[in-house]
């Protein structure tokens, strides 16, 4: 399985320290740090990924004109240095990197980064194997002479429709944070491409893009997450179980949802490739938008517990991220935390418990 290495995670976690002319700021499991362009190249040489995404200077907020200039200059310099160290004339033939280098294109207008793009087209052209783009709009103005290179788009499409849009604009490799976000939210994705036959006239109800497994209608539903779905989760488990696991905050819930959602996404992309080959892509995209709802269902529950380095840095006086769960047991939190790490608290009152047959009211 090919491995792609990038200097930072996607979507990135904004961090207060600023990038410098020699490094970018990151949040890691041990706190904020600076990753120098030099260290990143050494990491590429050592880790030997199939594809290395070049280091890029991105701004946390909408950059002003001065910042934009810096972004271009730094990225330009980092790309030149990285290519020199990986594939340059000074590197012995046997030491030249085998990794394919995807050069970043900044999320700016062409005019603002023309010097850099010119170099990509000329001096750097034969050392780069692809382009890494940071906004869908960049797809529109890839220079003619770089059009043959594969394009990896780092974006956050919120729906499969948005993914299709990026593909129509010319993206080849896409990031889909929506997949993980759906799993975390207890959503089992459920869409196929091309979409099933369009709805008959008069019916206006569109198909949902997924189902929220937190909701009460799944408590005793032993059907698979997706009808006829071939994924491991659907072949072995059912909605009632995932529903139970979500409510019990068991991490298996999210693991099984991830398996299902990856399957749905893989099948979706396979469908897209076939459709493009058939030449029916534009038409299939239109049908897809007519058949399916225009947004993912809302999640009605909480996600899995997140760890510090998965969260943005805390500002002062921020509210609790998760509501307290113990209620009446507050006085004993300390004691219980020491005794047991898997305390279950009923989420129903006395009548509910009685109905469950758990115990009876006195």
């Amino acid at each position: 399985m090919p491995l792609i290495l990038g200097p930072r995670r996607f979507p990135p976690i904004p961090c207060p320290p600023a990038n410098t002319s020699a490094s970018i700021a990151l949040l890691t499991s041990v706190g904020f740090t600076q990753l120098s362009a030099h260290d990143y190249v050494k990491a590429i040489q050592k880790l030997r990924p199939d594809i290395a995404v070049g280091m890029v200077d991105l701004a946390n907020k909408q950059p002003g004109s001065k910042r934009r200039g810096k972004m271009v200059d730094r990225t330009h310099a980092w790309t030149r240095d990285a290519l020199e160290q990986l594939y340059g004339d000074a590197v012995a033939e046997k030491d030249k990197s085998k990794s394919a280098y995807f050069a970043p294109v900044l999320p700016l207008d062409n005019a603002q980064q023309s010097l850099y793009l010119d170099d990509l087209e000329s001096e750097f052209r034969w050392d780069i194997s692809g382009l890494a783009l940071y906004q869908s709009a960049s797809l529109g103005f890839v220079p003619e002479s770089l059009a043959n290179l594969p394009r990896l788009l780092f974006s956050e499409p919120e729906t499969p429709q948005a993914i299709l849009r990026d593909i129509s604009l010319g993206a080849d490799l896409l990031t889909t944070p929506l997949l993980g976000a759906s799993s975390d939210g207890g959503i089992a994705m459920g869409f196929v491409f091309p979409a099933p036959a369009p709805l008959t006239e008069g019916k206006s109800e569109r198909l949902p893009l997924g189902i929220d497994l937190w909701t009460g209608d799944h408590t005793t539903d032993t059907s698979p997450l997706g009808e006829g779905c071939e994924c491991y989760t659907c072949k072995n488990y059912h909605r009632a179980y995932i529903h139970h696991l979500l409510h019990a905050k068991e991490m298996t819930a999210w693991a099984l949802l991830q398996v299902h959602n990856f399957h749905v996404m893989d099948t979706f992309f396979a469908g897209v490739r076939e459709s493009i080959q058939r030449g029916s892509f534009e038409q299939d995209v239109q049908t897809f938008s007519r058949v399916y709802a225009s947004s993912m269902p809302e999640s009605s529950g909480e996600g899995p517990r997140l760890r510090g380095y998965q969260l943005p840095a805390n500002g002062p006086n921020q509210p609790r991220r998760m509501p307290k769960v113990y209620g009446l047991l507050d006085h004993a939190i300390q004691k219980y935390a020491e005794a047991q790490s898997e305390i279950a608290t009923p989420d129903t009152g006395a009548s509910g418990l009685e109905e469950h047959g758990f115990a009876e009211k006195l």
Binding site: A248, Y309, A344, T345, P346, F358
Partner: protein, 440 residues
């Protein structure tokens, strides 16, 4: 073949148990006629250690055969901490635990009935054992008081008074459909100084056992185990054994241990109880434990164990290995490219050319206690380690090499330094004829 070994053995070794059989018989003859207690299991004893009281057997349950002695991983809420049931199956697990208290709260009895029991709910086609929930009731709930009727407690949600009886617990376990169900017992800390209360709890547990037997709807497919109580008082334990053995449940558990009592006391209780328990029934020591506790308790004649420690410690980044535990979050593992345990056949440690993942300590260090996958992988390793250890224990008993196994086991953990062997283990094993300090 194994039978020959048994028959050929001098009878002297089993004199302890024969000694007590008349007492048990006496109590059955004087006892009132009880509801007959069908059994949904068969217990085949293959071998008994010629030195210690260790037994190797096979427990045939409705969802498959379980080699004993066995460690049972704890899937409290119908899930083993991030693992799929195929991953659990691959560790060799034939029997795992669910908890009645937790399943009673979520998803609740109505859902269990509608779905068709806990096996169907979690997609597990092997055996399940459910604890009755008594322990959780008392330890987790505010203002739980135990009365003759049952456990009175305040609903954690709205504070209204409620009552959980032995009948509720059994009815729930009937809905869960577990292969082994536990009686509701009156659980108090073994370390309680109130002797009268300990005796009351023991007597009450016996009375509750009768109510559980009466309530149990499916004895032909679910095996009810009694739970011996009596704190650390060996006389009470003896009385309880006598009473409960007379009720002829398919299996017997020793309860109330692993609550912070001294290990010497723990060993005495297990030793005393196994002396009085019938040879042809499985014996389950609840809530135990660490590898050292298990190997000693096996020598004292126990067959089944459960503990959350191996899976919980995995989530903190600790791997169980033959030399003890490795704290993989320690930075000394950052560039240690050996597998977690050399020669381990779990999917994590097994090399890639043998179909494993071939993961290194360095990789585990990198993800452990950070990514949930780290927890999943170490949970697999730790459960596999425990089950593999039980397999080795069983083979050693069958080969009649258990004392040698014990010496090697402790030597591995303490780096061959006998002065570091825990005194309680040396003492307890001495009591069953093994000199841990002798040269092997």
């Amino acid at each position: 073949m194994l039978c020959h070994r048994l028959l050929a053995r001098p009878l002297a070794k089993i004199s302890y148990s024969t000694l007590f059989i008349p007492i048990a018989n006496m109590s059955t003859t004087t006892a009132p006629t009880r509801k007959p207690m069908p059994s949904a299991l068969t217990f085949d004893r293959h071998a008994k250690c010629s030195t210690t009281k260790a037994r190797a057997s096979t427990l045939h349950l409705p969802h498959g055969s379980v080699p004993l002695p066995i460690f049972m991983p704890v899937a409290t809420q119908a899930s083993l901490k991030g693992l799929t049931y195929d991953q659990l199956r691959e560790t060799g697990c034939m029997l795992c635990l669910n908890n009645t208290y937790h399943l009673g709260l979520k998803p609740g009895q109505a859902v269990l009935d509608a779905v068709g029991g806990a096996h169907k709910l979690q997609g597990w086609d092997r055996n399940l054992l459910t604890d009755s929930g008594g322990f959780q009731m008392v330890s987790l709930l505010k203002l739980a008081t135990v009365t003759e009727e049952g456990v009175r407690f305040l609903s954690p949600h709205d504070g209204s008074p409620m009552l959980l009886t032995p009948e509720h617990s059994i009815s729930l376990q009937n809905s869960i459909g577990s292969d082994i169900i536990m009686q509701l017992d009156d659980v108090i800390a073994t370390t309680s100084p109130d002797h009268a209360r300990i005796k009351e709890a023991m007597d009450r547990s016996v009375r509750w056992l009768d109510r559980c037997i009466e309530e149990h709807k499916y004895p032909e497919r679910q095996n009810l185990f009694c739970i011996i109580q009596g704190g650390l008082d060996l006389e009470l334990r003896k009385q309880c054994c006598e009473e409960m053995v007379a009720r002829d449940t398919p299996g017997i558990a020793i309860g109330g241990l692993s609550g912070g009592e001294a290990k010497e006391e723990f060993c005495k209780v297990v030793h005393t109880c196994t002396e009085l328990l019938p040879e042809h029934k499985p014996r389950y020591v609840m809530g135990v434990g660490y590898p050292e506790d298990i190997v000693v308790a096996v020598a004292l004649g126990a067959d089944m164990f459960d503990c959350v420690w191996p899976t919980r410690t995995a989530r903190f980044g600790d791997a169980i290995v033959s030399s003890g535990t490795l704290k993989l979050s320690h930075k000394s593992f950052a560039d240690d490219f050996r597998p977690v345990e050399e020669g381990c056949t779990c999917i994590c440690c097994r090399p890639t050319d043998q179909g494993g993942l071939g993961l290194t300590r360095a990789y585990m260090h990198h993800i452990t206690a950070k990514e949930t996958v780290g927890a999943h992988l170490l949970t697999i390793h730790n459960v596999h380690y425990m089950l593999n250890m039980m397999g080795k224990i069983r083979q050693a008993i069958i080969d009649d090499q258990y004392p040698a196994f014990l010496r090697k086991f402790f030597s591995d953990i303490y780096g061959g330094d006998k002065s570091k062997f825990p005194e309680w283990a040396v003492g307890a094993l001495w009591g069953v004829g093994v000199d841990l300090l002798a040269d092997s």
